[in-house]
Amino acid sequence: MPQNVNELSVISSKQLYHYLEKRSSRKPDEFNVATNLFNGLVKGIEDVGMMQKLTQDQKKMLRKQSVDDLKNLNLLWLDSMINSEDQLREKMSLFWHGHFACRVINIYFQQQLINTIRQNALGNFGELLRDVSKSPSMLSFLNNQQNKKQHPNENFAREVMELFTMGRGNYTEDDVKEGARAFTGWGFSLHGEFVNRPFAHDDGNKTFLGKTGNFDGDDIISILLEQEQTAKFITQKIYKFFVNDTIDSEKINWLAKRFYESNYDIQKLMSDIFLSDWFYDEKNIGIHIKSPIELIAGIRRFLPMELDKPEVQLLFQHVLGQVLFYPPNVAGWPGGKNWIDSSALMFRLGIPQILANADNFVIRPKDDDDTMMGMEGVDKMERPRQVNSVVDWDSVLKVFDSEEKENLLEKISSIVLQTKDKIDSAVIDKYAGKQTREMYIQTMIVELMSTPEYQLC
């Protein structure tokens, strides 16, 4: 938030971290956007098999309602990322949202999963992993409802190992098969409750990662957590997300060892990262390409605004390639340079002007079903669209009240941009509005946000 900017300059980075940590330690509010219609339709249906009792029209209505509710969930979370003071928790939740990527059109399930993630984002990784693995979202997305003794389905076991814990190359195909046998019987009710179906469970002996026993799903997760490789895999992914895409094995090994020894305490791992001097090294600053969500939330955090149609942010997410609750697949968003192509970059550079009401835009996404998340008809015509926003410039301008005019550009630039080399000040100055001091500041902020440098943090 802009009003905090000046405070930021007087406290040390480590003090700031302690503040963030403290703020984020409180329990997050649960999201609940599932509408009455959805509740009404689902109510009374005990088992997913009973879905057949619904008519075609009811099913269709359920899906449509889910899609609508998911849009609200998306915007609610985005708002929370923008306005919440629990920034560490929100950012960590965004990380886990990509790590435990899940794409199901069911508002109950998605809502339950994101609440689980936000709740445990800074808690214990083992518990988070267990809760997520037992969530109806993940069990349904990875087909474990179909994983039965007579017909094992390996999808769930494979992804739990490949993407959630150890990473490819650290287990055999036999481990996948045996793991899948242990997970047989794990399922869920339509209400979104985990159910263990003993009749579908294979209770024979399994040999998994060198251990043999009559394992069930919980045992498999425990064995996976016993592997130091799991700590290493998770640490490396967190390092890439928060520190640098280029990995530093020495640092990662040090962090992973402590993470493992702490029995997977996520908050401790984050303290280890943020309280290390190397985190603030020049080579680790201004090199991470912001994800579309980070970009949108960042602009809006700095420029408090009211949007007349907040849904437009869904369109932004779609155009830029990151729609919350719609990851491309179970591997999540690849991130980094994958965010950037010509059209995405030009749109990124245009967003500050669009959001600040200074420009319109023309976008007509292709008709492609579930990726459109019910946005069909949003923009069938190729016509310029205008976002009507009201920016609370007063709170932004206040930050620069005490600044001499000749220092303004440097000051604004140092706040808006995080890259080591700043953009050529003559160019920024040339395009800035000179009529009034307010205008000068406003135009410079929007200009600086419309640069390649602003894509980085």
Partner: protein, 412 residues
């Protein structure tokens, strides 16, 4: 609120200063290029695709087109039994052979077939098919196995193989506002351009050109973004200029696909170095009331493709252009209870060109007596089709692009 309102008025004055229009150098490329001498140079070498060079146009039919009502087995009892309402009668279908008909809304395709300009590949799919739109589209676009997650596309990797560091980012264009995974490579990406004039206007903002011109190399990631910006600005100029060189005089239908194919035709007739174009039509997700929806989309496709082919023929380029159609999956053999069909597996592909080596029906129709839980079993892996096009049409290294050697076919 009042305070906000006042601020808004103030900001509206500021808008005047930032408005794009004011940044535009109207109609003057020369002036704009003063800011960008470095990257326009890349194009001065005139690396033109000479006439005779091969061009691929990929037409994506999004949503899962019903292949069995597209290429129809008109003498198959199982087909009519499975589709008592949706089945297309033999006398309604446009007959290609005694056994096979094409959807009545595709007369231009029937004519192309008769002339030897259209081949049909049946039963195309992949092992362990996925019935989610998104995932299956992912698999087709990335050309990955269904249990692997690959974040580059097959045409993006074509760009990586063909033009790494060649400074010609316009080799693959998607006529759309958003770039598909298919055109994203590791190091090179195609360009999404719905309308060359609009892209030109967006990128011709003096401010972008100027920050780009004053940028000097620093940290690698910043440089990557500036390189992308440079390429976009210069490509936007280049595409716009080229699109104006030979505006197509052919009449195209005023539909989405009609407009997009017209844009592609104008670029094909120019000197642009583009070898791959990508365009989509949809949605073919016909769970309900399939007949009307498929008919509407096929009519749009028929008329647009017909105009495009005539344009190519009139300009003597039909033998140099190959159109490949695909959809992320076909639909189930049996109709559902809502006058539609649900997500299925294997599907047919159209290959259209004046330069086909093998014409007509390229293989047998799918076997409706041998189904996998009501779904067609695939007989051709789509990656064999990709490999053939990459190697024999685009003369590219199919093995490095697809990660292994797929058996090549003979249609081109």
């Amino acid at each position: 609120m009042l305070m906000f309102y006042k601020q808004k008025i103030k900001f509206n004055i500021l808008i005047m200063l930032l408005k794009r229009k004011e940044f535009l150098q109207i109609g003057s490329l020369a002036t704009a290029s003063l800011f960008v001498p470095k990257f326009l140079k890349a194009f001065e070498q005139k690396s033109i695709v000479p006439p005779g060079n091969k061009i691929l146009v990929v037409l994506q039919m999004s949503g899962g087109n019903d292949g069995l009502n597209t290429v129809i087995p008109v003498r198959n009892d199982i087909y009519y039994k499975s589709r008592p309402h949706l089945g297309i009668e033999k006398d309604k279908a446009l007959l290609l052979t005694d056994e096979v008909g094409i959807n009545p809304a595709l007369p231009a395709f029937k004519q192309l077939f008769d002339e030897g300009g259209l081949s049909i590949m049946n039963g195309v799919g992949y092992p362990n098919p996925d019935r989610s739109h998104f995932r299956s589209m992912d698999i087709w676009q990335s050309a990955s196995d269904s249990n692997k997650y690959v974040y580059t596309g097959w045409l993006g990797r074509y760009l990586d193989a063909q033009c790494d560091g060649c400074g010609k980012p316009t080799q693959a264009l998607e006529v759309d506002d958003i770039l598909s995974l298919a055109l994203k490579g590791e190091n090179n990406k195609g360009i999404a351009v719905k309308d060359p004039a609009r892209l030109y206007n967006t990128s011709n903002e003096k401010y972008f050109r100027e920050i780009n011109a004053v940028h000097h190399p620093e940290e690698e990631t910043v440089d990557y973004l500036y390189k992308m910006l440079s390429e976009t600005l210069s490509s936007a100029d280049y595409i716009f200029q080229q699109s104006k060189l030979h505006p197509s005089s052919q009449m195209y239908p005023a539909t989405g696909l009609g407009k997009n194919l017209k844009t592609i035709a104008s670029l094909i007739m120019s000197d642009i170095n583009t070898q791959v174009y990508y365009v989509s039509i949809g949605s073919f997700d016909t769970h309900v009331n399939q007949d009307n929806q498929q008919k509407r989309l096929f009519t749009e496709m028929n008329d647009a493709v017909n105009a495009f082919i005539n344009d190519l023929k009139n300009n003597n380029r039909f033998q140099d252009v190959l159109i490949m159609t695909f959809s992320e999956f076909g639909r189930r053999v049996a109709q559902n209870a809502s006058g539609g069909t649900d997500h299925g597996t294997a599907n047919s592909m159209f290959l259209i060109s004046g330069g086909l080596q093998q014409k007509g029906l390229l293989n047998a129709m799918p076997n409706l007596a041998d189904l996998d839980q009501g779904d067609l079993k695939y007989s051709v892996d789509f990656k064999n089709v990709y490999a053939t096009i990459l190697r024999q049409w685009l003369h590219a290294d199919d093995v490095s692009i697809l990660g292994k050697q797929y058996e090549l076919m003979n249609f081109v």
